[in-house]
């Protein structure tokens, strides 16, 4: 149930929670959010619930001291949070993966951001316990982000007593809308994003995952070079629609309960450089690193050497944050190198037009290759895969050249839809017209086709395991 694309979540938890949330008087609504979130987390990972609760309590206790603006205290609590994250990552990696609490990477980053914002005065007063806890634990974000800032949490007028009734007086339309109609519109809008995200995740990502699995089943040493590239792009799309879809679902649920829409994916493949790509891919993580690592280290204000060093620190932490095996560090280091080359060579020395072309090639070719590194944690297998991508170092074994066309004939429509959706204008067009009746019909069909697909996968061990 800890997954948004789970029918139990969609048809049981979410409606029950939403009704409870709106039935609760504003004064106690934050508690409903907190309790609902703890239930959500507990159902997913009861054994690790105490870790989340413990981290919340410790961070709340320290939050009070942040307003004293003592640097030592900030360092101390950030060190505690970072150590907790590192320890569980280590346990999860070395001992047993079940020892890593779900979402720890995300709620810890929220906690660090929260403490730093209090220290900097970005958050004016120390929030109450219920707000702090609800912000850290809120179920739309606790598993995989987005890493929303507390300032966005505060924008939720449904949780603030003093703002109750204000919306009744504000006349943003010509005719006054009752709070009930506004609530329905809010739910509808959030659900629209949820349906789009669900479709991306279930219909595109989960099905393209089968192509990537097929590449593994054949064995990397035996795939044709064409299939190796197809696999790289299929995995690139799978990852994109999995995470973008998830982020849209998370943002949609957030909108349903009054939070602002949090943009986590801003059409990254429309970027013209890799540095731009990572401002638009998992944007809340990128801005977290910018605000709480890169800028505190001096950013780009302390000369070329320090800038490169700071970028190095950011990318090595990014690599380790994603996973502790060597391929993630290699992944981070390659991105660091390309970003440095872009910054000091491509954009600094080359004509603007040529820089744009090279930057675009980086996004469309180097990024998919880095995802292959991201995907394959075994180093020898990774080398094998790259030998098939670039077949200059000998032939593969038992290669069937027909493997490319076979997979294209099975997956072409998913690849085509994925490719079209990677064009920023397509989504933007829908977003602008999402309240149009045709859009509603489209969403209705999309949602139920997704549910159909999930129905035949959930609880059915034979669905994805057909041999």
């Amino acid at each position: 149930m800890i997954n948004f694309s789970d029918l139990v979540f969609i048809f049981r938890f979410l409606p029950v929670f939403l009704i409870a949330f709106y039935v609760t008087p504003v004064k106690y609504r934050t508690w409903t959010l907190l309790i609902g979130s703890l239930v959500f987390y507990g159902v997913g990972d009861l054994r690790m619930l105490p870790v989340l609760v413990g981290a919340v309590v410790v961070n709340y206790l320290f939050a009070g001291t942040m307003t004293l603006h003592k640097k030592g205290l900030l360092f101390f609590i950030v060190a505690i949070d970072a150590l907790m994250l590192a320890e569980f990552k280590f346990l999860g990696h070395v001992v047993d993966s079940s020892l890593m609490p779900i979402g720890i990477s995300f709620f810890t980053f929220k906690m660090i951001a929260f403490q730093a914002d209090l220290y900097n005065g970005q958050i004016k007063e120390k929030p109450t316990f219920r707000d702090t806890a609800a912000y850290f634990c809120m179920f739309p974000q606790v598993v995989s982000g987005p890493i929303m800032r507390y300032s966005d949490y505060e924008k939720n007028e449904l949780l603030q007593e003093e703002l109750e009734g204000v919306e009744m007086l504000s006349l943003d339309d010509k005719e006054e809308k009752s709070p009930f109609i506004k609530t329905l519109e809010r739910l509808e809008d959030g659900f629209s994003y949820f349906a789009v995200g669900l479709g991306m995740k279930v219909l595109i990502a989960d099905h393209l995952a089968m192509l990537w699995k097929e590449v593994g089943t054949i064995g990397y040493e035996s795939i044709s070079t064409m299939l190796a590239w197809l696999g790289a792009y299929a995995y690139t799309m799978e990852l994109f629609f999995d995470f973008w879809g998830y982020s849209l679902m998370a943002a949609g649920i957030g909108v349903m309960i009054g939070f602002p829409f949090i943009v986590n994916f801003d059409h990254p493949y429309g970027s013209f450089s890799i540095s731009e790509f990572y401002r638009r891919w998992h944007a809340t993580l990128g801005s977290w690193f910018r605000d709480y690592v890169y800028i505190p280290l001096g950013g780009s204000r302390k000369g070329t050497f320090r800038t490169i060093l700071n970028l190095f620190v950011v990318w090595i932490i990014t690599g380790i944050w994603h996973g502790t095996t060597a391929n993630f560090i290699l992944w981070g280091m390659i991105l660091f190198l390309v970003i440095v080359i872009e910054k000091y060579l491509v954009f600094a020395k080359l004509p603007k037009f040529l820089g744009k072309v090279i930057g675009k090639i980086n996004v469309l070719v180097i990024i998919p290759l880095t995802w292959v590194i991201f995907a394959i944690s075994d180093f020898n297998l990774l080398i094998t895969y790259f030998k098939r991508l670039f077949p200059f170092f000998g032939e593969g074994t038992s290669v069937n050249q027909g493997d490319f066309m076979k997979n294209v004939s099975i997956y072409w429509y998913l690849l085509a839809v994925g490719f079209i959706l990677m064009i920023p204008a397509v989504y933007k067009f829908w977003d602008a017209h999402r309240k149009h009746p045709l859009s509603k019909i489209f969403l209705f069909i999309l949602f139920w086709v997704s549910v159909y697909s999930l129905s035949n996968a959930a609880g059915n061990p034979f669905m994805y395991f057909s041999f």
Binding site: R12, L187, T217, G219, S222, S398, G459, F462, S466, F467
Partner: protein, 321 residues
């Protein structure tokens, strides 16, 4: 109705959910009786029955065979594959009549044969050269598909009627063989062309349903039907290939204990005269009887480069009459 205009998508979804739930509840002993088998309401809403049914071609207005109506009480005990029982029974009765016919024709063939009284002769496995497979047919699921794709020498010679996720129950009747005139079933194909050797490896996809004994019985019905269409063919029942240790230990259905008990039952079907049982697992197993982990990525399928082991095994375990 202002509220309806403000959230048509939500209202539509809610109404659809209610309609589907009502359908699922009211038809769960008839149309969706099969879908309800093994369905855990804790893992998905009850209305998913409607979608599960739709995947198998069952809709709320579908006519259900009266058998199910009579046996509502017994439905709970039926196996996962109960939907196939009716077809299998038909095959059983048809082939039941034909078993005697086969016996007669078997005698006839041997009578006409040059070698004379071969009826009681049994054969031993010998090594053959690749051209042995020129008049061979392979029937199977994705594993056999892999064999055709990654064993060129065999693929150039033999015929393959294999399909991903093929089960025994659909092996003869599902039209999946592409011809110039459209898709035909194995049954149709076998009535048009004769093969000298027929290799079958099926059984993994359907391992979650029935018992080894019931499965062997159904398997024999399929073999009888093939025998009827191909009176002279040597039929090879291939034991189901194992899965890796890791897969075996973590899967309720797809584990080697289940595979071994099915293989044991299948091996009993051989008469060593015209029907032979071969088990290629010895070519791919580790010392504990699990598929060698290095040979497979997903624990179930051989990697492309590993199919040669299977092929070499077939070359060394052939029957020459």
């Amino acid at each position: 109705m202002k509220w309806l205009r403000s959230c048509p998508l939500l209202v539509g979804t809610a109404v659809t959910t209610i309609i589907l739930s009502v359908l699922a509840h009211s038809l769960d002993t008839t149309v969706y009786a099969d879908a309800r088998e093994g369905f855990d309401p804790g893992t998905a809403p009850y209305f998913s029955l409607v979608f599960k049914g739709a995947r198998d071609g069952l809709y709320p207005w579908s006519q259900v065979p009266p058998v199910d109506m009579q046996e509502i009480g017994a439905v709970a005990e039926a196996s996962v594959d109960s939907s196939f029982d009716s077809t299998t029974n038909e095959e059983l009765s048809v082939s039941g009549n034909d078993i005697s016919g086969n016996d007669i024709s078997g005698n006839d063939i041997s009578g006409n044969d040059v070698s004379g009284n071969d009826a009681d002769r049994t054969y031993e496995f010998t090594e053959v050269d690749p051209d042995y497979f020129c008049d061979a047919l392979f029937i199977g699921d994705s594993r056999t598909v892999g064999l055709s794709e990654y064993c060129q020498e065999l693929d150039e010679r033999a015929t393959f009627y294999a399909k991903v996720s093929l089960t025994l129950y659909k092996s003869l009747t599902e039209p999946f063989i592409k011809t110039d005139e459209g898709k035909i079933s194995v049954e149709q194909a076998l009535s048009e062309k004769q093969y000298a050797k027929i290799y079958i490896m099926l059984g993994l996809n359907e391992i979650g349903g029935g018992t080894p004994e019931s499965y062997a019985e159904d398997y024999m019905a399929v073999i009888d039907r093939i025998r009827e269409l191909q009176p002279d063919a040597i039929i090879y029942i291939q034991g189901i290939m194992h899965v890796t240790e890791n897969k075996s230990e973590n899967d309720k259905h797809f584990n080697n204990a289940n595979i071994n008990s099915r293989n044991e039952a299948l091996s009993q079907l051989a008469d060593n005269k015209t029907i032979f049982y071969i088990d290629m697992n010895e070519a791919v197993d580790d010392e504990n009887g699990n598929l060698l982990a290095d040979l497979s990525f997903d624990g179930v399928h051989l990697k492309a480069a590993s199919y040669d082991r299977w092929y070499q095994f077939l070359l060394q375990h052939a029957i020459v009459k």
